[in-house]
């Protein structure tokens, strides 16, 4: 039963993920991305990491893709222009990277014994997650926060530049 579910959701996730860069319409790409994220959440459920699954749906599917969709609709980007030579080259480079990375992931170091994941009691899962995040992984967490802050400042700078100067009064 579990294997069947795994196959279904794995195929769904990978196929829709593949469709994201392949679809010509941005809305289709965003929707494929959404399905891919939800499929990934289902895979997390099969791994019994429910907390991660719910976070995946809540953050990525529930917030980020909505924002993507929102922006796509506002820009009214109906169809991406036909690909140029640079894009072809970039795509091939990405494909090569993917092939090499996939090869090493599967055949390179994939045979070694993986460390057993210590499955916390599901009731305390969110608590364990929080404690680990704020003690052991505090530095990466803070770094991520700073990176987001940088991105935010960047967005403000970029968006302020196009603002017409004649707008008086409050925005």
């Amino acid at each position: 039963m579990k294997e069947i579910f795994f196959l279904i959701f794995a195929v769904l996730t990978i196929l829709t993920a593949l469709c994201v860069p392949l679809s010509r319409k941005p809305v289709n790409a965003a929707m494929n991305m959404l399905v891919s994220f939800v499929g990934l959440a289902a895979l997390f459920v099969l791994l019994e990491t429910y907390f991660l699954a719910v976070l995946q749906v809540m953050v990525y599917a529930g917030a980020i893709v909505v924002l993507f969709l929102f922006i796509i609709m506002l820009m009214d980007a109906n169809q991406s222009p036909p690909p140029k030579l640079v894009r072809f080259l970039a795509s091939f480079a990405a494909l090569a990277l993917l092939a090499v990375g996939g090869y090493y992931l599967v055949f390179g170091c994939g045979s070694g014994p993986y460390p057993e994941i210590s499955a916390a009691a599901p009731a305390a899962l969110s608590r364990t997650f929080g404690v680990e995040l704020f003690t052991k992984y505090l530095l990466p967490f803070q770094m991520t926060g700073f990176m987001l802050l940088i991105a935010m400042v960047g967005v403000i700078v970029v968006s302020r530049k196009h603002e017409p100067e004649t707008t008086g009064g409050e925005k």
């Binding site: 809305v27 907390f51 809540m58 969709l69 929102f70 009731a123």
Partner: protein, 363 residues
């Protein structure tokens, strides 16, 4: 998994769906009746089903209170001509009502609605799936509901639905933040448990243990955000029929519109249920302390109490709708980002300090 067990699970799920769907249908009737009462008119009071409506006295009363009206409404949705505009994006146009409807129905799987004593003598919830992170599940799945509106607005490929969809998505993202922030102090209050059943059990003893007494501000912010998330007036930016015709569902008709409609009411019912569980003590009666008797009577009573609390809250939703005027769009955004969100964050910090202090004193 045994076959009988499987059949039992499916039966329970179907029963739950039937109850929520039935409640959604009758919520529509309630809405019309409440609107009528507030506007000083009788409301739907003509619909009859031949045999029942013809009963001597009861039939007449039932007809007057409009008990058969949802049947007529439902049949109307099914038998009407389905308008299908030529200019729409067919796939997403058909997908949108389903996407709006499914999350609203999915969230009910983790919503406990009563309590019973199991073989081990412990209190256990009446629920389809007693998930440890139930409240997160509800938040996650209900946040997917916005896609129905956004896609519906976009796929209709005309101006008013498009504006409605854009407004809805911006509004829902904004208020989700305030909602989550208002929720955090509640979760901290009950020892960090994300299980809805534990949260209700924590409020069991008497009315003054209800979260709304201890955290009125959280409850208020959560309720306002809930209005915004369910797209109800005064936050129905997605529809706002005075400036957007009918908003995101302008191009929809017949059954597809019906799906949007029922989805909205299911959303309201589920939202009211969550509010009841989090802030109003779930299935525990307000006054008599530890009043739920043992055995099946207690279970039935708990379900009934929960039902009536939810009903009261649904009525409150409708009351507000026919009382307050709609906000302007910039007011909605301002309220969400400049009032509710800072308030929710301040509330969170304050309760974090209070809870830490209480923990210190108790040690």
């Amino acid at each position: 998994m045994e076959l009988t067990h499987f059949i039992w699970l499916v039966t329970k799920a179907l029963l739950m769906i039937a109850v929520v769907m039935g409640c959604s249908a009758y919520a529509v009737l309630l809405e019309r009746k409440v609107a009528a009462a507030i506007q000083w008119r009788p409301g739907p009071n003509r619909t009859q089903i031949p045999i029942f409506g013809g009963l001597p006295i009861i039939g007449r009363i039932l007809t007057r209170i409009g008990i058969f009206q949802p049947v007529a409404d439902g049949l109307k949705f099914v038998f009407k001509e389905e308008p299908f505009p030529k200019h729409v994006n067919t796939f997403y146009f058909l997908l949108a009502p389903m996407v709006a409807f499914i999350p609203a129905m999915t969230t009910m799987t983790v919503m406990p609605f009563g309590v019973y004593t199991n073989e081990a003598g412990e209190a256990a919830p009446l629920v389809l799936a007693n998930l440890d992170i139930g409240i997160l599940f509800i938040l996650a799945v209900s946040s997917l509901g916005v896609y129905g509106i956004v896609l519906g607005g976009w796929a209709s490929n005309s101006k008013f639905p498009f504006l409605g969809g854009i407004r809805a998505s911006a509004q829902m993202i904004s208020y989700e933040l305030a909602m989550g922030m208002a929720l955090l102090p509640v979760l901290m209050w009950f020892g960090g448990s994300l299980n809805l059943f534990d949260i209700v059990q924590g409020q069991s003893a008497h009315m003054f243990k209800w979260t709304i007494i201890y955290q009125p501000l959280s409850a208020f912010i959560f309720l306002v955000a809930l209005f915004a998330e369910t797209n109800r007036l005064p936050f129905d930016m997605a529809e706002s029929e005075t400036d957007l015709v009918a908003g995101f569902n302008t191009e929809y008709g017949a059954f597809k519109f019906g799906l949007f409609f029922v989805g909205e009411y299911a959303h309201i019912i589920i939202g009211s249920g969550v509010f009841t569980l989090l802030f109003l003590g779930g299935w525990y009666p307000p006054f008599f302390t530890d009043a739920l008797p043992e055995g099946w009577i207690g279970s039935v009573l708990s379900v009934l109490i929960f039902f009536f609390k939810v009903l009261g809250l649904v009525f409150f939703f409708m009351w507000i709708r026919w009382t307050l005027p709609r906000f302007r769009y910039d007011q909605v955004m301002k309220l969400g980002w400049e009032r509710l969100l800072p308030l929710a964050i301040a509330n969170l910090v304050a309760y974090a300090i209070i809870i830490a202090l209480i923990a210190q004193i108790q040690n």
